[in-house]
């Protein structure tokens, strides 16, 4: 596959790995946070941690927009879907996320009309084909996905569709990063910036991290070599005493982002004063909702939604895992109460969550993996 296979070359990986190791100061331990679920996924899928020296550690941050949705919001979505004249449409990732009464999957089993879609445009199609029903699209994702929802709303408006609405759960990445940076128990040396979010918002929004917190940021692509190269670039900054925002993913990310996408978001959406992030608590100006002019497409206004807040169980330690303070296997309920089938907290809920990724892909200790790799 073009633009994919070239970035999976093992020799080049070894070369980058050697360069990273060469930059390690003896006795120093490096911790880099990758904020994007897609990065977590790649790292585990390709066994990237095998390529890093023991002293370089990757910490998985809150970059999974599915995982951070509070259970109460999932309950609200289920409530919407339970409406007999509603067809709920959702990305596949959301289907397994449990609220307090189960997930979309479970509701579907009980007869609720919930359909998986690949694109929000597919929801529009369903709305056109089912004029007697009200189609709701469960909109999730960071700024990567918000423009697609925005364009879909604009399209619905242009077509005068009257049976389509959006249950908007879009969140923005920067406030989450700031929450991590402000947390007292954190010791991070730098960040791998979210590659696809940055195609929309550009690289400027991360400048405050370098300027005000003194941590280098490298906006990284999603192939294994992208990630290794980005780590190398971070190490180089540290070795040379620089702190800046750099773009490794230049083939896709423009420094200024995508103006058309930002305009579409700006036209249809606005920031909520607060939003609750599972595991991180309430963060101000961190999520989007539809503007008043588009109220006719806002499922929260069209329907009666319970709006009950459901807290995570006390045993859940997701907050600490998200901030990189705990590794997945250090959480007391990891693997016993909390498994991919019964995900108690956000980090286990989606395959990109830190705990799920570790459970599915990285369960072996590095010791055993090295033994097996050598054979």
């Amino acid at each position: 596959m073009k633009f994919v296979d070239e970035y999976r070359n093992a020799d080049q990986a070894h070369a980058l790995s050697a360069k990273i190791a060469a930059l390690c100061e003896p006795g120093r331990h490096y911790k880099f946070m990758e904020v994007c679920g897609g990065h977590t996924h790649t790292i585990y899928k390709h066994g990237l941690e095998d390529y890093l020296p023991e002293s370089v550690e990757l910490v998985h941050g809150p970059g999974c927009p599915v995982c951070v949705i509070p259970m109460g919001r999932v309950d609200d979505a289920m409530h919407l879907a339970a409406n007999p004249d509603v067809i709920m449409t959702s990305f596949g990732d959301m289907m397994r996320v449990p609220g307090s009464q189960g997930s979309f999957f479970d509701a579907k089993a009980a007869g609720t009309d919930i359909r998986m879609v690949y694109s929000p445009l597919d929801s529009l199609k369903i709305a056109r084909k089912n004029p007697g029903k009200r189609v709701v699209f469960m909109a999730i994702g960071f700024e990567t996905t918000a423009p697609s929802t925005a364009m879909t709303v604009l399209r619905a408006a242009a077509e005068g569709l009257e049976n389509f609405s959006v249950f908007c759960n879009h969140v923005t990445i920067v406030p989450a990063i700031k929450a991590i940076l402000d947390s007292p128990d954190l010791r991070l040396d730098g960040f791998l910036g979210p590659g696809h979010v940055s195609t929309v918002i550009g690289c400027r929004p991360y400048e405050f991290i370098a300027r005000d917190y003194g941590k280098p940021v490298v906006v990284a692509g999603f192939e294994p070599l992208d990630i290794l190269q980005s780590i190398y670039m971070l190490m180089l900054q540290l070795a040379e005493g620089r702190t800046a925002v750099e773009n490794q993913y230049t083939r896709v990310v423009p420094w200024d982002g995508n103006i058309v996408a930002l305009k579409a978001i700006g036209q249809t959406m606005e920031l909520r004063p607060y939003f609750e992030w599972r595991g991180l608590g309430f963060i101000s100006h961190s999520a989007l909702r539809l503007r008043a002019e588009y109220a006719r497409f806002d499922a929260e206004l069209l329907f009666d939604v319970p709006g009950v807040r459901v807290a995570d169980p006390k045993a859940c330690q997701c907050g600490e895992v998200l901030k990189g303070v705990l590794k997945p296997w250090e959480c007391k309920v990891f693997g016993t109460a909390c498994t991919p089938e019964t995900p108690i907290g956000t980090c286990m809920v989606s395959p990109e969550g830190a705990c799920a990724a570790y459970y599915n892909f990285g369960r072996l200790s590095r010791q055993r993996v090295k033994e097996v790799s050598r054979s």
Partner: protein, 425 residues
């Protein structure tokens, strides 16, 4: 009407800042039964663990000492393994699509409900076909139901699957397939012409496989049920060889061979549903494997096990080998044959081809010393032209499937959770 939500006002279920939420009904204590259940299971396991003296435990009376990182991680991994080994229980109140996906949930359901109720030595191996002794002859008996949607797809229709699928379950038991039953559950209003097309396909497939449909049944259900047509076929064959075949026979040093590119059928079905508006040149790989199997068995005395890779894909079979034989299965990503279009579609959809169903592919575990002759035998048959060794069996870590990525790293291939591609076969 809930106090929180009124039509026309923003509900702010996620939006509330603490102070403004006095009238918000916050549940500190879950109404989520499944969470309480999971926590109870956790407590049980922790209690069990505490009861067993742990050599790694650095605790002295009254002063717990922190353990080194790798040792702590080992403990957690052991805890997880214990949890996974514990008696299968179905926690859900209702069946979900996951239970039909061929992965973890299916296995748990089969063990906890069906095996538990019907338990007997013939059922226990849970192989694709049961092996019976009848008046001195060894026979294989199997059954499968076909609920694929859509009924007609590139490469065939539900009728092809209904014959080939059952023939294959007999073939991988090393049996010569002989006779099939065919039970139809047809929806009121289903076009008779479509039924004829399906049955014609069954006739042709049966001829190609050398089997006869000798008995059957017909039921009609009201409009809205059976989604057109469901078919069940049972098959019986005679086992003429004297070998013991079964995934539990796998041992360190064996190799794992797959007969051709994986994922064709599942991706074809997914695209044929038309909802994703993806066009690609993929067709179902549905085919009868008895000829390929016969060639393999004739050339290779050291065949330990064969399975046809249907729901849950190759990954499911590898996990069954690892679990039932108590071995480690190590496969190399580079060696697994996948067509570019299947890979492309799978990437687009975010699905791993290793979990995607095939309907005409064989996975064989063979004595490592005979790998070459096994491969030659398979490649000599048209259905095995792209046969490839994809990995080998090691003894440690037992029960686990490892994948050496194209990139050189290593990761685990677990049993499927959830169901990416429902109603595949």
């Amino acid at each position: 009407m809930t106090p929180a939500g009124q039509i026309g006002q923003r509900t702010a279920s996620g939006e509330d800042g603490g102070e403004a939420g006095q009238d918000r009904r916050a549940s500190e204590d879950h109404s989520a039964g499944w969470v309480a259940e999971a926590l109870r299971a956790h407590d049980e396991l922790t209690a069990q663990a505490a009861a067993v003296p742990n050599p790694h435990d650095g605790r002295t009376k009254g002063s717990p000492q922190p353990l080194p990182g790798t040792v702590r991680e080992e403990q957690v991994l052991e805890r997880i393994d214990r949890a996974r080994r514990s008696r299968p229980r179905v926690k859900e109140q209702r069946i979900t699509m996951s239970h039909g996906a061929g992965g973890k949930a299916t296995r748990t359901l089969v063990e906890a409900v069906f095996l538990d109720a019907f338990r007997n030595p013939l059922l226990e191996p849970l192989e694709d076909a049961a092996q019976l002794h009848v008046n001195g002859s060894r026979m294989a008996l199997t059954t499968d139901s076909y609920v694929v949607s859509p009924l007609f797809f590139p490469g065939g229709n539900i009728g092809d699957l209904a014959v080939n699928g059952t023939v294959n379950d007999l073939a991988v038991a090393g049996a010569v397939p002989l006779y099939l039953t065919a039970g139809f559950i047809i929806e009121e209003g289903f076009p008779v012409d479509d039924l004829r097309r399906i049955v014609a396909a069954m006739r042709d497939a049966a001829t190609a496989a050398g089997v006869q449909v000798v008995t059957g049944d017909t039921k009609v259900v009201e409009k809205g049920k059976a989604d057109g047509c469901y078919i069940n076929t049972a098959g019986v064959g005679v086992i003429e060889h004297r070998r013991t075949l079964g995934v539990a026979q796998a041992r360190p040093g064996d190799v794992v061979i797959v007969s051709g590119p994986i994922g064709d059928h599942g991706i074809t079905i997914m695209l044929a549903r038309g909802e994703l508006e993806i066009e690609a040149d993929v067709t179902s790989d549905t085919a009868p494997l008895h000829g390929l199997v016969a060639g393999l068995l004739a050339a290779t005395p050291g065949v330990r096990a064969m399975r046809d890779a249907t729901r849950g894909g190759v990954a499911t079979i590898l996990n069954e080998v690892a679990t039932d034989a108590g071995v480690c299965v190590v496969v190399r990503e580079d060696d697994i044959p996948v067509r570019p279009e299947v890979r492309g579609a799978a990437e687009l959809l975010g699905i791993d081809p290793m979990y995607v169903a095939c309907e005409g592919r064989l996975v064989a575990v063979v004595d490592g010393a005979q790998a070459d002759s096994a491969l030659a035998a398979m490649r000599a048959h048209p259905l095995g032209a792209s046969a490839a060794v994809i990995g080998q069996i090691a003894d440690d870590p037992a029960g686990i499937v490892l994948l050496k990525t194209a990139f050189g790293g290593t990761r685990i291939v677990d049993l499927l959770v959830g169901d990416p591609l429902p109603r595949i076969c």
